[in-house]
């Protein structure tokens, strides 16, 4: 479904070319859940933006190919891009505070991509939006529909974002650190929601995160990035339990362990 | 983009430096006494002796421009000192403390800012009378609200920063925090406000002197000279041209400088 071939992303930093992503290649099949893990500056977000077709600025040089069902996203025209974004691919971001428009009601924002991509009547749109809100776990959908973003909690907003991104039934969902700003318990619920959607409607999920553990919980396959390059990829469980690359090992070792201690070493 | 800004900064700075050098040189060497009248040279054109010509009283225009630019610089400089100084202090106090101090001072500020700048300056002049010193006072007062508003915004932004909290925890008092911790962070923004303010001061002084309520004769100022030259615009264009040119260069210089500084803010 998605094939990234030797992708290089180079942008200009104060006149000097800076390579953010180097020789990145991977495939994604329909309905697959893939995680990209890396620390800040690893190029994971750049990769996500490029795949989402949001990195079309002329001053960012892109080499290689991103093939979406055989067609190269990087050579898409405006019209094709609009069709691709929203309809075939949905994306959610880290910050649920800024990714919703503060002056528009939730309902309006949910329906926006229906207005762009489908020819629905007002009533159909409303029904779709309500159904979608219910699906993402906002059971009081009719009330939420008429609320503004600031009236919702962070977790609810992220649910709205997911709902809005999924309303046209895209085949791919790109999630860039969607749970980082949320509390642990809410984080867990969002992951369950993404998993459920993936199981039921075969929506492929490309999950970008700095948290290897989280990725392991959600994804089947994982790609570990460091300084713009893939250092390791494979089945999530295998990478997590027996990492082969030094950097992955370091990453895993950095997660504080919670194991029962004999006596209390910290007090000694 | 960055390069353009840098170029703009350099160009503005060089224009101002050249002008400044001319003004500075006048303290050591002035070709003629700027107020010395000479009937024989009335409306003299451009010549070697008077290379910008002479005015309706036969005074050397070049010398008068040097004198006038000095006055204009002086007025603009002290206007900024008064307006910028008091304005920044007011903005710092209101922005940092907030509460009722903020309410009172900012409402006062709004009241002053509600009048058009120039009109307010006219009101102040009509109260205290014309003259170089009074122009400085009038323009200084007029400039306070603008600076106060900018400084207040900056202080408001900075006062919730963690480094301010941590200074408080160490036992730093409010004035120490305002001066040593927050003020340095507002300098880039204030600096570009200063260049714009300087510009407005030059134009305002010229305008007021042009109307005859600024610098009084026989003292020269750029605006004063333009106003006197107005009557002879067609017979002796050089009389209006040179002072006008200097005003243009001054304003251009400060605009470019301000533009160049802006991006760093």
């Amino acid at each position: 479904m998605l094939k990234v071939k030797e992708l290089n992303i180079i942008f200009q930093d104060r006149g000097k070319p800076e390579t953010a992503v180097k020789q990145l290649s991977f495939d994604m099949r329909e309905g697959e859940r893939i995680g990209i893990v890396g620390e800040s500056g690893s190029g994971k977000t750049m990769t996500a933006l490029a795949i989402a077709g949001l990195l079309m600025r002329k001053d960012v040089k892109k080499q290689g190919e991103i093939l979406w069902e055989g067609k190269n996203i990087l050579s898409f025209h405006n019209k094709e891009l609009c069709q691709y974004r929203g309809k075939e691919m949905g994306m959610i971001f880290q910050e649920p505070m800024t990714s919703l428009n503060p002056v528009k009601k939730i309902g309006w924002q949910m329906e926006e991509s229906l207005r762009i991509h489908e020819k629905f009547t007002k009533k159909e749109r409303y029904e779709r939006a309500i159904a979608q809100l219910m699906e993402v776990g906002l059971l009081d959908a009719k009330k939420v529909y008429h609320q503004y973003p600031h009236e919702l909690s962070g977790g609810m907003r992220q649910r709205v974002m997911i709902g809005a991104a999924l309303i046209c039934n895209p085949k791919l969902m790109i999630a860039d650190e969607p749970t980082t700003a949320l509390d642990v318990t809410v984080q867990d619920q969002i992951l369950q929601l993404l998993k459920k959607r993936n199981k039921e409607k075969k929506t492929g999920i490309l999950f970008i995160s700095h948290d290897l553990e989280l990725v392991q919980k959600l994804c089947e396959r994982v790609i570990v990035m460091h300084k713009g390059m893939i250092v390791e990829k494979g089945l999530a469980r295998e990478v997590f339990t027996s990492p082969s690359h030094e950097y992955t090992k370091k990453l895993i070792a950095s997660i504080p362990k919670v194991e029962r201690r004999k006596g209390d070493s910290k007090l000694g | 983009m960055r390069k353009e800004k840098k170029r703009s900064f350099l160009l503005g700075a060089s224009i101002l430096i050249v002008l400044f050098c001319f003004v500075l040189s006048s303290f050591f060497y002035m070709p003629y006494d700027p107020n010395q009248m000479d009937n024989a040279n009335k409306f003299a054109g451009v010549s070697f002796a008077h290379w910008m010509g002479c005015d309706n009283f036969g005074r050397d225009i070049y010398s008068r421009i040097l004198q006038g630019t000095r006055t204009t610089f002086l007025v603009a400089f002290f206007t900024i000192i008064i307006g910028g100084g008091i304005g920044t202090a007011v903005g710092a106090i209101t922005g940092y403390f907030g509460g009722w101090i903020d309410e009172i001072l900012m409402r006062l500020n709004d009241a002053v800012a509600a009048f058009p700048n120039f009109l307010l300056a006219l009101v102040v002049i009509s109260l205290i009378g014309p003259g170089t010193f009074n122009v400085i006072m009038a323009l200084g007062i007029v400039f306070i609200p603008g600076f106060a508003r900018i400084a207040r915004g900056e202080f408001l932004r900075c006062r919730n920063m963690d480094y301010v909290k941590s200074a408080k925890l160490m036992g730093a008092g409010p004035f120490r925090i305002i001066i040593f911790h927050i003020f340095p962070n507002t300098i880039p923004v204030l600096l570009s406000a200063v260049t714009i303010g300087f510009n407005n001061a030059v134009i305002a002084e010229a305008g007021m002197s042009f109307l005859g309520i600024g610098v009084q004769p026989p003292d020269a100022s750029l605006g004063r000279m333009l106003s006197e030259a107005q009557a002879y615009l067609f017979s002796t264009p050089s009389y209006a041209f040179f002072p006008g040119m200097v005003v243009v260069l001054l304003v251009l210089g400060f605009s470019l400088l301000g533009n160049g500084l802006e991006r760093k803010a």
Binding site: E39, S40, G154, D183, V184, T185, V186, Q187, D188, H210, D211, L212, E213, K217, K250, L251, A253, S254, I255, P256, K257, V258, R260, R261, D264, K266, L267 | M161, D162, Y163, K165, S166, A167, L169, M170, G171, A172, R176, F180, H181, P184, N185, I187
Partner: protein, 238 residues
């Protein structure tokens, strides 16, 4: 070892609108001990930190400091250091305010502290924007230690850092405690980090401390349902 550094007694804090933010909170921090505070956003964690530092309106109860004022390490290493000043100035400032040391003594102390947090004296001449997030957080820790406070409050101090950097900063906290015997009050939403660092842990929900105890005890034999939910969500299960 058992001498208390900070004692919070039956603390009640509420803001104007009548909503109770902290509800009868009591605990102690002892010398050389790290006490962790976990809970979700909006539960009153940050308000408690503010109340301890005297920056929140206390309705009832009291905060007793048994040593000098605690210092704080903040979450965002990008806003906790003054961008207009060199690291040297930033570190010297608390000493200048307190007026206890002369110039040479101040210099000596700064150099000692910057090395203690694992940075060279060359950093004293740099501006914050030349430093990485991890380096800034090291400077912030050095700054908190400048006044010889016996208690450091760390509010989500490692949450904004990358995992590998986070691990280094956590080690730094442990090293500093070992060497200097300071106590930490460590506020975090990350239960793993808290386990790694703390001796004692408080679980907070809606302004109340619902469970408190030794970390081992709380993490492996939690009493409250809410604690169990938190642990489960963090992927910590026995």
């Amino acid at each position: 070892m058992d001498k208390p550094i900070l004692e919070v007694k039956d603390l009640r804090v509420s803001y104007k609108r009548g909503k109770e933010v902290l509800n009868h909170v009591s605990f102690q921090v002892k010398e050389g001990q790290t006490v962790g505070l976990v809970g979700e956003s909006g539960c009153g964690k940050s308000t408690l930190a503010k109340a301890i530092l005297g920056m929140a309106p206390i309705q009832e109860g009291e905060v007793v400091h048994y040593s000098s004022m605690p210092q704080m390490v903040f979450q965002d290493p990008y806003s906790s250091l003054n961008p207009a000043k060199k690291i040297g100035w930033i570190l010297e400032e608390p000493l200048k305010i307190q007026k206890k040391l002369n110039k040479e003594e101040r210099r000596e102390k700064m150099e000692q502290m910057i090395e203690r947090v694992g940075l060279g004296t060359a950093f004293l001449e740099r501006y914050p924007n030349m430093l990485s997030g991890g380096q800034r957080q090291r400077v912030a820790i050095a700054l908190a230690l400048m006044l010889d406070s016996k208690l450091i409050i760390a509010d989500e101090a490692v949450s904004a850092l990358d995992v590998t950097v986070q691990a280094q900063i956590l080690d730094l906290f442990l090293k500093i405690q070992r060497e200097m015997g300071v106590s930490f009050f460590f506020i975090s939403h990350d239960l793993r980090v808290v386990y790694h660092l703390c001796h004692y842990v408080l679980v907070m929900k809606e302004g109340k401390i619902i469970e408190a105890g030794n970390v081992e005890q709380v993490y492996f034999t939690p009493r409250e349902e809410y604690t169990k939910t938190l642990l489960k969500a963090a992927g910590i299960e026995d």
